[in-house]
Amino acid sequence: MRNLIKIIYIHLLAICCSTSGLLGQAKETPLRIFGYFQVNFTQETGTSAGSESTNSFNMQQLNLLFQKNLAKNWSAFVNMEALNNFSSSKEWGAFNLEEAWVKYRGSKQFNLKLGLMIPEFNHLNTIKNRMPLLPYIIRPVVYENSFEDIIDLDSYLPRRAFAQAYGFIPSGRWKFDYAVYLGNSPNINDRSALGQTGVDTTDVFMTGGRLGFRYKEWRMGWSATYDRTNEFGEVNLFFQRPPRFFNERPRLRTGTDFFLRWKRLSWESETIAVNYDEGDERFDVDRLFYYATLGFQASDALFMYYTYWGTEDEFVFVDAQPGIIPVFDLYQGTLKIFVPSLGFSYGLNDRITLKGQFSWVDISSDDEFFKVDFRQNVLSLAISAFF
């Protein structure tokens, strides 16, 4: 650890000292523009009451990437993403600036990214929107950007950070990875009437990191973030605590990731647990996400897999003021989403990939007031192109 701090210190010193001489050693390259998109066809077949059958084509995602080496050891990268048939005139989908950062490449032990970035958290977080790299059409739910309208993905994942130091320390065939980062807390102003939307309205940071190792085709990691959230601000209506008691409650997200390849078989899995310190024993929320994929590389071009992923949101709410909302005298339940899938991806050539996926969606809640029993089969076909 002391060595690591020394390496970081030396590199920070080197960055400061080298800035004045940058132009002299500049190795600028032309701006490169490239990107990828994925279009899919989805047939949903309802298999429970209230579950409807639909057919739809969807321009699921398009990313435009811009990359440029600015000078020796410095590069810049911008990633813009359009989702779900994006059209501003028709108010469909969304268009997001996902990344815009500069990177200082010191050595294998130390790299520094500054700007808007997707931070290291488990394995899938940083590559979740790189569709050509993934065999899935519908990604494990918390990584599925096109579900942003339906699920609060930010509860599970750090999706943005603004400064990250990372690298690896080799030891023979072993490589020990680390990443530490800093970002906004999740309390972002989204009300234009208050002015300057998109900024953090509190005096707290999100801090996080990942530690892991790689050995040949084996990889493991542990991730964590800590921040404070205002997402429970409204519940004080029921508990008569001092104003803002439920604001800026501590939130800890922890994750594990595992990957192993053996000959043509591969196994990849992750877990994410979200724990809050609500500060009141009458109110408790915990979230859990997990996924695992068993893959088989049938040939250079064909990859087949079985995957399952799920979330469990536990919620306990004991109303201290019976009668305000009678059914809330006691609410205790778990909302579960469980989705096993079978699928394949077939590389038609270096740039075009065909994908197929069949999923069994099961959403249920065991609470007596909010009974949910939703089942649906989803068949998806997609084409993914890199340009």
Binding site: K27, F34, Y36, L65, Q67, S75, F77, N79, E99, W101, K103, R105, S107, K108, T126, I127, R130, P132, L133, F168, P170, G172, R173, K175, K216, Q297, D300, A301, G347, D350, F386
Partner: protein, 142 residues
Amino acid sequence: MIKKILFIFFILMGWQAAQAQVAVIAHKAVPVDQISSAELLDFYTGDIKLWGNDEAVIVFDLKPKGEVKEVFYKYLGKSPSRMKSVWMKKLLSGEGDPPESMKTEKELLEKVMETPGSIGFVAEDKVTDDVKVLAVITREEG
């Protein structure tokens, strides 16, 4: 007599199989004289991007499939398709570029010869004195 002929034939076959096949070559000025398969993999995956003297490592690949490429990738311990997905990940994450692929071994040899910090691979019998040989991979090693 037949036994003797067969014996000599198998000895020759075995000797041929053990022959050096592929040379890992580098620009004359690179600061190392030999390289292990683990180091080579680090260069080709982009995990290590600088030589010891702070010069950028520039890797070249061979486009056409063939015995030379097959032996080299086996030595790295990764299939060409696996390496492609590693490079794709680096490219799409803004972390690096895939190596430039040459159409022929002659072209690759010339490129390594004229590009400081570069590294590549060709059949051993194609190597000239204008490049440095960092490793020789035999078919069996590969």
